[in-house]
């Protein structure tokens, strides 16, 4: 086990989704904090540093991309990994997210919470792809 647990910030406005992800990530040994909108998410990013940001794009008020842009302007040298949480059908915003430095994106509806946890682990361990063993 990693001696110091990784710190994750989850910004997600849907209560059920947010609480579910928090539960699963906590269970898997991460230190997780969450925010329900872009503005409070950005405030939390200013107060402490996180290893990874799980960021929903569609948020009330300041949206995910605006948050990311603001954060990159203020902390251009941050090493924090960003994974975007999206819904299918947001190709344009995904491109924009990548341009703002996001490393990956997950389609909320297509990933079970455990798959999300796996993607988070992968991203934190340097993006090692999952083994491609024959499956039956």
């Amino acid at each position: 086990m990693d001696p110091s647990p990784k710190k994750i910030l989850l910004v997600e406005d849907e209560d059920f989704i947010r609480e579910l992800y928090v539960r699963q990530l906590t269970k898997n040994g991460f230190l997780i904090k969450s925010a329900v909108d872009g503005q409070s998410g950005l405030e939390m990013l200013k107060q402490e540093s996180f290893d990874l940001l799980l960021l929903d794009i569609m948020l009330p008020g300041m949206n995910g991309l605006q948050l990311l842009r603001e954060f990159k302007t203020q902390y251009p040298n941050s090493k924090m990994i960003t994974i975007l949480l999206t819904n299918l059908g947001q190709e344009a915003v995904i491109k924009e997210g990548f341009e703002l430095g996001a490393q990956a994106y997950l389609i909320k509806a297509s990933y079970t919470p455990d798959q999300v946890v796996n993607e988070v682990k992968n991203a934190l361990s340097g993006g090692q792809p999952a083994p491609t063993n024959p499956i039956q």
Binding site: I17, R23, L88, I107, A109, P134
Partner: protein, 466 residues
Amino acid sequence: MLPLVVGFFFISSPVIIIAAGIITLVLAVTASFWILKPLNILITGTEILNKGNFNHRFDIRSGDELEEVGNSFNLMADKLTQTFQSLEKDKDLISVEKNELGVVLSSVIDGIIALDFNRNIILLNKAAQDLTGFTQEEVFGKPIDQIIHLFSDQEEVFSKYYCQTNFNQPLKLVGKNGSQVKINLFSSSVSAGIQTRLGCILILHDLSREEELEQMKFDFVSMASHELKTPLTSIIGYISVFLGDYKNKIPKEDFDLLNRSLISAQQLLRLVQNLLSVNKIEKEQLAVSLEPLDYYLVLSKSVEDLRSQANLKNIVLTLFPQKEPVPKVLADPLRLGEVVTNLVANAINYTPAGGKVDIFTQVSPDKITTTVSDTGVGIPKEAIPHLFNKFFRVSNQLQKANKGTGLGLYIAKSIIEKLHGKIWVESEEGGGSKFSFTIPVFNQTKNVLDSDKYALEAVQSGRLNY
């Protein structure tokens, strides 16, 4: 006796002169009464007729040729009156018809433009004036191509082309001061056999209302799909977490109950996603964002997501290991996942319990071919050409019911074509189906990069470092 006679002669000569005068006077009066008066009537009468009063008649009762002349004139006047009246009637009729035609043309909601043989404008109805912004007076007699400009995509379409044959196509109309409107142009050339100066008729149907409705439909489906997905994501998330935690702690029967709920929710989610995708395809807004992918990861995730559904039907779902290293592909993982999901879900749906669904890939220098093969009911030969059409569903006696929306294969084909691949099927009724599609490998997609600015920039910036 002679002197008497002579004397009488001399005596009588003034009398004779007077008598002759009287006779002459009588004759003159007679003549004026019998000849000059009728002539006068004729002269005055013809003058009246000349002035256009065809109701005038000649009253000559001389009992001679003059009376006949007068009667002839009366006859002629009768005929003239009749002809004139019928002409007046025709004129009224024509003007009524003209008015009616004018009202019809101006009441038609579609724009109508009539051109002569030289394709100059000779008529522009009210709707056409509204659509183009020009008045009839402004453009009368002017060449159509100088007045309005029609575009199919970026290319201008000229009257020489659309007046040649029957033409029926949506176009962009650029009218007065550059105003733009989407229309459907129907034009037809007027056959030369008809005795008119008409050369071509244009009917312009305003598509902006349709577009508005289309947009409303598009927005509604987008919004509804999104709203449906949010709770579905929660349902699927929570059940899958519960099943993960309690798989070995609850009785199998209880596990199955909840597992079926999960599978149904996943099916519903795929339906919603298909609706969303087809909505975008219809609006030509289905975008693919290309990135270099480890294709096998995309493939195995999509297949694994359907495993519990296959297990439930006791279908053996096998993803065969790749025989050789699969090169990176430049594709859109979401869309590619949709293709695999649709093909594998179809295979599971149309394969009876206890059957097999195999998925394997084949790598060649320029492309990866993926095949989804099943032991299902197969597809009748006559259905194969329509299989990738929207809403098409095979009606098959072997099938108890028509499952699905008929959208999956249509979406798969649209996506694969966007990814510069091909998709096809081999099948026999009762003998299973084999759906295959190709995607170009990365080195083959370099020319594709030219058409995708984002991917090109990404490669140039070193972010896509392959």
